[in-house]
């Protein structure tokens, strides 16, 4: 069991308010991702839940019990840090065993659990090595192993993949998702990468300047962003946001259309534009098209689309996929 409830939680460092009053419910077994630009307060929020920082006011409940004043270790949570935070002077075995040793658990039980976790994470051959002798991905797995053996109420991940190269990041993403399906334990995952958020989350919490902009499933956020910030943050490449006369024509202060919702044609359409940079990936083609009176729009075409710098193309937005925002940036 591991439901986490934040009630009117605030955090300020001296004069600086990092998190104004915030409410959030994380259900048991959910994979929740906190996403937002750097400095949005997502890591601070995670550290508040972990107990590594004190809340300035408000309450944190785990399984209904108030843990606001409890020390980190008493909250039954495990955390995987961005730097992995492995103990460099201990072997992999001792690293994984450390939380169990601190809990004063019997040696034979520790041994069984450590070996079990090592087997699950493909670390059996590395148990005697020091963290310094491991690759980035292996270190990451040790950090996860150290978290797993405690059988926590919930796992907290603080940007765990940001120090890995691109290929490894994709692989570890899958491993963590797989782990969630096996363990069915609550996981809270902090990242600035919206792709990680979209691919892993049951529920995404988009944060900006300490405030929750929107909470919802990945596709909810993709389909119905509540405001310009979420619209611009979720989705890759970014949604095209258009102000001015073109927006006014749709009765809004700004309109947004995703690159994949613009139909391309060489013959005719709503907007005529000149191709600037074109990125041909084979599977997709991304075009940056300069449309007079609208601006530069990003367009995604499936497969190959043979146009190049300076060519003229026509763009047509899918009418039912058009997002409209008022002058405050809220969705209409």
């Amino acid at each position: 069991m591991g439901s986490i409830h934040l009630a009117k939680v605030t955090k300020s460092f001296g004069e600086l308010t990092v998190i104004p009053s915030l409410d959030l419910v994380v259900e048991d077994g959910e994979f929740v991702v906190f996403v937002g630009p750097s400095g949005c307060g997502k890591s601070t929020l995670l550290r508040l839940i972990a107990g590594l920082e004190d809340v300035s006011s408000g309450q944190i409940l785990i399984d209904g019990a108030d843990v606001t004043r409890n020390a980190p270790a008493q909250r039954g949570l495990a955390m995987v840090f961005q730097s992995y935070a492995l103990y460099p002077h201990m072997s992999v075995y001792k690293n994984i065993a450390f939380p169990l040793r601190m809990a004063g658990i019997d040696r034979t039980v520790i041994d069984a659990k450590v070996r079990g976790a090592a087997k699950a994470l493909n670390l059996t051959d590395y148990l005697d090595r020091r963290p310094g002798q491991l690759s980035g991905g292996q270190r990451q797995r040790v950090a996860i192993g150290r978290a797993i053996v405690r059988e926590p109420e919930a796992f907290l991940f603080d940007e765990p993949l940001s120090n890995l190269d691109a290929a490894l990041r994709v692989a570890m993403r899958l491993e963590i998702s797989e782990l969630h399906h096996q363990l069915k334990t609550t996981m809270i995952y902090v990242t600035h990468d919206q792709v990680e958020a979209m691919t892993m989350a049951d529920k995404i919490v988009v944060l900006n300047r300490g405030r929750i902009e929107q909470v919802g499933s990945p596709l909810d956020l993709y389909r119905k962003p509540r405001n310009r910030f979420v619209a611009g943050f979720i989705g890759s490449p970014k949604m095209n946001l258009i102000d001015g006369a073109e927006a006014a024509r749709h009765g809004a202060a700004a309109i947004g259309v995703r690159p994949e919702h613009l139909a391309l044609s060489l013959d005719g359409g709503v907007w005529k534009g000149t191709v600037r940079v074109s990125e041909h990936l084979g599977s997709d083609t991304f075009l940056h098209v300069d449309v007079e009176g609208v601006g530069v729009l990003t367009v995604r075409a499936g497969g190959e689309f043979p146009v190049h710098y300076g060519d003229h193309v026509w763009l047509t937005p899918a009418p039912d996929k058009l997002h409209r925002f008022n002058e405050h940036g809220e969705a209409l």
């Binding site: 980190p72 949570l77 840090f81 935070a85 460099p88 450390f98 939380p99 809990a103 405690r150």
Partner: protein, 276 residues
């Protein structure tokens, strides 16, 4: 980086380098050589460099004439004692400053540094009187106390700069893993900080071993460490160069070896981390 250096240039540099090194080191070399001469040869003119009758009698004589071993032990007790005591105070303080810094941490560090800059002579008079009145004059305890206090800022500073290099996340991980503050320091911080603590210890032993203001002013005989013992050779009747050399060699040899080992950390410690 990897660039060919002509052999001729390198040979030239080698000659210059060794000549300069020899000249700078000469007074020490000369002391060691003289310590193996007889008193007559020590003042021979022209001086004999290697072709003399090597003797070790000065070393036995030094111990025999004055209780060299006692002063040696005083030096050991004072330098090791003050360092150990200093570490006992400084490790927790440095932990607090490095990992739980508050608004005033920096001010406290700077203030500690400023105490190091107070000239010793400014407090010579009251300390002498305090020591005289409390019977601490010429005692090991008194000197250990004074040296602990003058070393403390340096120890705190050095440890602080080393601790700061340990990522705080690792200590937080330990906290998440259920380690109490004590266990966090013993099982995680201390093992990771071993190199830093070791070099702090080493440098501090060297500095206390060579401290020559308080040791000269607050001791007379019983607690006199080697600095004060050697100083007694300055009196005219102590002008036995070979014996002076033997006593000096014994006094500097151990610390010279330690110093050579600690040369890398020396810079950092002595500049309070300003140069690494």
């Amino acid at each position: 980086m990897a660039r060919a250096v002509t052999t001729r240039r390198k040979a030239l540099l080698t000659v210059i380098g060794w000549t300069v090194g020899f000249l700078v080191f000469f007074p020490i070399l000369w002391t060691v050589l003289t310590s193996f001469k007889t008193e007559g040869e020590a003042i021979a003119n022209p001086p004999s460099f290697l072709a003399f009758d090597w003797t070790t009698e000065n070393y036995t004589e030094v111990q025999h004439r004055s209780d060299y071993f006692l002063h040696m032990m005083n030096s050991v007790v004072i330098s090791f004692g003050s360092t150990a005591l200093g570490l006992l105070f400084a490790v927790p303080a440095a932990w607090a400053m490095a990992f739980a810094p508050g608004k005033r941490t920096k001010d406290i560090l700077m203030w500690m540094l400023s105490t190091k800059m107070m000239p010793a002579v400014g407090v010579l008079v009251p300390l002498y009187i305090l020591f005289r009145d409390s019977g601490l004059l010429d005692t090991r305890v008194g000197l250990v106390g004074v040296l602990t206090l003058i070393d403390l800022p340096l120890i705190v500073w050095m440890l602080y700069t080393y601790f700061r290099e340990i990522p705080g996340e690792i200590l937080e991980a330990a906290r998440m893993d259920g380690a109490s503050l004590g266990k966090e320091i013993v099982f995680v911080l201390a093992p990771m900080a071993v190199p830093g603590i070791a070099s702090t210890t080493l440098l501090n032993i060297i500095l206390s071993w060579n401290e020559a203001f308080w040791t000269l002013n607050l001791t007379t005989s019983n607690a006199a460490p080697l600095t004060a013992f050697i100083a007694s050779y300055s009196s005219p009747e102590g002008l036995f160069w070979a014996k002076l050399s033997a006593a000096s060699t014994l006094a500097i040899a151990p610390i010279l070896v330690l110093g050579w080992f600690s040369q890398r950390q020396l810079v950092r410690g002595l500049t309070f981390g300003a140069v690494k």
